[in-house]
């Protein structure tokens, strides 16, 4: 027993020392250290002394190959050590503390201005390349040099055509092609296909100035209010609508000139037609392709599948057309790719109930062809099963299934729709009030490079708005506040609606004492001018009695709010006093025994033509009574009479009974009593 034990131990030691040695070898040679081998082998001799046979045989030492690092490897390793700092703003704003955004509008403004500055610089460099010819960098850095925007080759030749195609000058390329044909020179099929690609891609229009990612959202976003998920897409759709496929355009003309169009030519034409909405034409072109005994390529099929829901009316017919296309793919031995899968799923979104029954078979089919799903596939899948606005019945498990599939995986962007996944998933979590899945979705976001797939700032905002609303609704206040501190304002600037949700959550969990803190945030987030929000805040503060300390902080907060009402922005009044907000504010002040402040506020009723409630005046009177200020009590009655409140007689009675009045005051009160009696 003992011997076997010691044997086992030795074995273990040997193993671990060998491991260590292998490790050492690796690390040494990784640094391409010259004497690595002899050093590591001598170390092995020392450390594994009892393992004689293994060490004595020199052939056991295997020199690993020198590892070549990718050029970003070091930086990637370093970057992986940096975690997000919830107290810091986005990295791009860290250069200038003055430009740290505090509100969503500032965020938008600053990020866009940074981007547009870059664009402006690029524009000048490209427009005036002659001023930017000095090349300081060594080795040469091509991306800092101006792009050539003017065609260099002037003569009419195929090379010039290729150059124009490369520079994406649609009109010039078409003109040159015509000139070439008129001159009798034939253009090779490849170049013609490239030209067709170019024309079809841009729909026979010259491309607009290249956009940079940040710029495109300029006019589409409005982050202030509950954002709409489809805005980004709507913008794209409108772009497409501007340009439509015209009859007999240059693409069709040039295509007709081709003596023997090949697959590529057809592919270009069909993709262009689908891109610019000529769906039925695309299908007839496809029929031509089949008639000329050619095979289509996978891109053609993808385009046609995308177009399939457009050319058929009924769900069944749409699906049958898609299946038919897939069958033809199989017949023509075209291997579908991820984009085929996504196109089918996207088309199934518009096939109603057929989509629900066919989505999973389609996915199984593609999985069998070893196509890995991207996030876009899952996003389409979710969209098939959860229609926005539709009642949710018993489909919560689909999201769960999807999360089971994806959680823990790191995805790489492969499809433009990949960026829709997170907001779609979070929308469903919000609709189904499923906190557990929401956490899983959020966890997935933290895996690997998945954060890139959250999309642009606009989509990020939607995502976080949904997540945070859900938190407000479902989580207890401590957890929710933890998230709040984590997300706001480093990644998310809540809208006023979300802040109201937050207040309601505070109310539900009886943590109204946090209101003054939240008010500070509201001010910083630029929602202090939101009437609804401020009034809600005041109502919540006024509603219940709290302990002295809390009341005191409430009163401070209330006075702060009053300042917002008073100041306005450059003469413009931001907020209007209402009877409700005034009385709430006064109640808060009274509860904190700030009678003087409250008294000042009471006068505002008159100046803003608002009428106080009886209840408020009673409350006020109680407070006055506690301090025994007779004069103020009488004045209060006078104010009440001034508004001709029906409760004035009662108020007079109370004052008469409860206060020690002087003769003069008594007289005044009885006068008022008669007055109010008469007015009735």
């Amino acid at each position: 027993m003992a011997s076997s034990c010691s044997q086992a131990l030795r074995h273990h030691v040997c193993k671990s020392s060998r491991l260590l040695r292998v490790h050492l070898q690796k690390s040494w040679t990784n640094r391409s250290f010259e004497g690595a081998v002899c050093v590591s082998s001598s170390f092995a001799l020392n450390s594994a002394a009892d393992q004689q046979p293994a060490v004595s045989s020199p052939e056991e030492i295997v020199i690993p190959k020198k590892k070549t690092w990718s050029k970003e490897a070091v930086l990637q390793a370093l970057a992986s050590t940096v975690k997000r700092d919830p107290t810091a703003s986005d990295y791009r704003f860290q250069d200038d503390p003055y430009l740290t955004p505090k509100t969503s509008s500032e965020f938008k403004l600053f990020s866009l201005s940074q981007e547009s500055g870059r664009n402006a610089a690029k524009y000048f460099i490209n427009t005036y390349p002659k001023y930017f010819q000095k090349d300081y960098a060594q080795p040469h850095i091509p991306c800092l040099m101006p792009d050539t925007l003017e065609a260099q080759i002037e003569e009419v030749s195929e090379a010039a055509l290729i150059e124009r195609i490369g520079m994406r000058k649609v009109k010039a390329a078409v003109d040159l092609y015509d000139q070439l044909l008129q001159a009798g020179t034939s253009v090779s099929l490849d170049v013609t296909n490239q030209l067709l690609d170019l024309i079809c891609f841009y729909g026979d229009h010259d491309p607009a100035q290249e956009n940079v990612p940040e710029q495109r959202n300029e006019e589409t976003e409005d982050v202030q209010d509950e954002p709409q998920a489809k805005k980004g897409r709507a913008a794209k759709a409108s772009d497409l609508l501007k340009a439509t496929w015209k009859e007999k355009n240059n693409a069709e003309r040039i295509f007709a000139l081709l003596s023997e169009p090949n697959t590529h030519s057809y592919s270009a034409l069909i993709r262009g037609m689908v891109k610019y909405g000529a769906y039925s034409k695309a299908f007839s072109t496809y029929t031509d392709l089949l008639n000329s005994r050619l095979k289509a390529d996978v891109h053609t099929f993808n385009a046609l599948i995308t177009a399939a829901p457009e050319v058929k009316e009924k769900y069944n017919e749409k699906w049958e057309l898609i299946v038919d296309l897939l069958k033809q793919m199989a017949e023509q031995k075209v291997k579908p790719n991820l984009l085929t899968l996504n196109a089918v799923l996207k088309a199934l979104r518009r096939c109603g109930t057929v989509g629900k029954s066919q989505a999973f078979p389609v996915i199984s089919e593609m999985k069998a062809l070893s196509i890995d799903l991207s996030l876009a596939s899952y996003s389409h899948l979710l969209a098939i099963f959860y229609k926005p606005g539709a009642p949710i019945q018993g489909q919560t498990d689909i999201l769960q299934e999807v999360m089971n599939e994806v959680s823990g995986k790191s995805f790489t962007p492969q499809d433009p729709d990949d960026a829709q996944f997170f907001i779609t998933a979070m929308r469903i979590c919000l609709d189904t009030k499923d906190m557990e899945q929401a956490y899983r979705v959020h966890e997935l976001l933290g895996v690997g490079e998945n954060w890139r797939l959250l999309g642009n700032d606009f989509q990020q905002n939607i995502y976080y708005a949904r997540f945070f609303s859900l938190l407000c609704m479902m989580e207890n206040i401590d957890v929710m506040l933890k998230w709040y501190r984590d997300l706001v304002p480093s990644v998310y600037y809540p809208s006023s609606n979300v802040m109201r949700d937050l207040l309601q959550a505070l109310d539900t969990d009886n943590r109204l004492d946090l209101i003054p803190q939240i008010w500070k945030d509201i001010k910083q987030l630029g929602h202090a001018n939101r009437q609804n929000l401020v009034e809600e805040l005041l109502t919540l503060m006024a509603r219940e009695k709290h302990n002295q300390e809390v009341q005191e902080s409430f009163a401070e907060c209330a006075l702060d709010i009053k300042k917002i009402y008073d100041t306005g922005d450059r003469g413009k009044v931001l907020l209007n006093w209402t009877a409700g907000s005034l009385s709430d504010l006064i109640s808060v002040l009274l509860a904190a025994h700030r009678r003087q402040d409250a008294w000042d506020m009471l006068k505002l009723f008159k100046t803003h033509n608002r009428v106080p409630s009886e209840e408020l005046l009673n409350k006020f009177l109680m407070c006055v009574k506690e301090d025994g200020d007779v004069n103020q009590a009488v004045e209060l009655v006078q104010i009440s009479a001034g508004f001709c409140l029906p409760g004035t007689p009662k108020l007079i009675q109370r004052v008469q009974q409860e206060f020690e009045l002087t003769e003069q005051q008594r007289k005044m009160l009885s006068d008022l009593e008669i007055q109010s009696f008469n007015s009735e």
Binding site: K71, Y91, C143, F201, H299, L326, A330, K367
Partner: protein
Amino acid sequence: MYRRLLININQVRNRLIHTHNTRLTLPSTKCKERESFAPVAWAPCAARPLGTSSISFSENKESSTSLSEDKGKTAEENEVNAEVNTDGQRNTEMNEGTEISNATLTSQLETEPVVKPEDRKQVEKTKSGKESLLELLGAMKVEVTTVRKIRPSKTPRMSERPNQEPMESTHSMFQRATAEGSQQHGTLNPELVAAVSAAASTLPNRHQAESELLKQLRKHEAIPDTQRRADIGHIISDMKVGKRPNGRSNVRPTSQIRFDDDGKGYTQDRGITSELDGVRRRKSPFTSKRLNLFAAAAEQDALSDLGPTLWDIDLVNQIVQATNQMPRNGFEEMIQWTKEGRLWLYPINNEAGLEEEASVPFHEHVFLEKHLDESFPQQGPVRHFMELVITGLAKNHHLTVQQKKEHIDWFRDYFRQKEDVLKEAEAYLN
């Protein structure tokens, strides 16, 4: 492993016998059984009490049908199957089960009819994936030999019979079990799963029992088909047919009572089955059947010979625009710059950007005398000057070897042009 299993089975058997012997609730069975159990041949004994329960069922439910001897026998036969089956499956948990004497035994009996229908089917079909049962039946062979004389006459009959009666008899019971919602359980037969859950429900620790039973079943599922087939012949031939003992109908009422007392007979277990059902369903959507449009090994079409087309570039561009490409920290920004070629590469290498010089050995740079051969004078001021030039060039690390050569060539041309002047000044000596 297998030995241990057998040992376990034996232990269970023994305990079963004990519990039978010490039972108080069923005096009539007790005495009879004691006699039969005494000669330790286990299989017949175990079969008998179990058989009775099923018979009692069948008697109760098909009172109109006359119970012939044959029927009884076949029913019992199935009981044997079932008994061995369950026994083997829960080799360990049965220990606990049997230790709880009366209650457990009744529960044991209760489970039998539930499991039975499958066994029946399986024996008939001899293919439908009940290898676990068969495996265990195989284990039973040795004990069975004591009654082998009955075998030849009975087995053919049994395997031919359609056997509807016992099915009927246990029908309601079975329904109860299947109604719990399991239609299909992973790789296992749904009925089997239902039966297992029903069986487990009768045991004190249901969850554990059920999961273990299922695990066991799955393990047997994994056994290859061929082996299974081979076994079946043996098993059927070795199957023993027991007799129907009389006067034990009181077994059932007790079991009934137990369930009533307990108050959570099948109702609790519904939760478990539905849970298991959930597990099963969780796997289904993404592993559902495919459309079968494509052959698995479809050819990759030979495209992309022209490099990326405009469409490919646009796709990449779209993806880039759709995703968030903003750096989150300084390092990520540096990565971006590295990709754009704006940043010095890490790890730092002071020969970065000197790729064309990498293959040039250093002596080409340093020893430049060979370029001063015959075209320059061997001595004199020009020679002296040129020696200074190559010394300077040898130390210059900004120029490539080619540039150095060009530099020397320039002087060669220069001095050649000025040859006349130099000769006049007697500076050019050759």
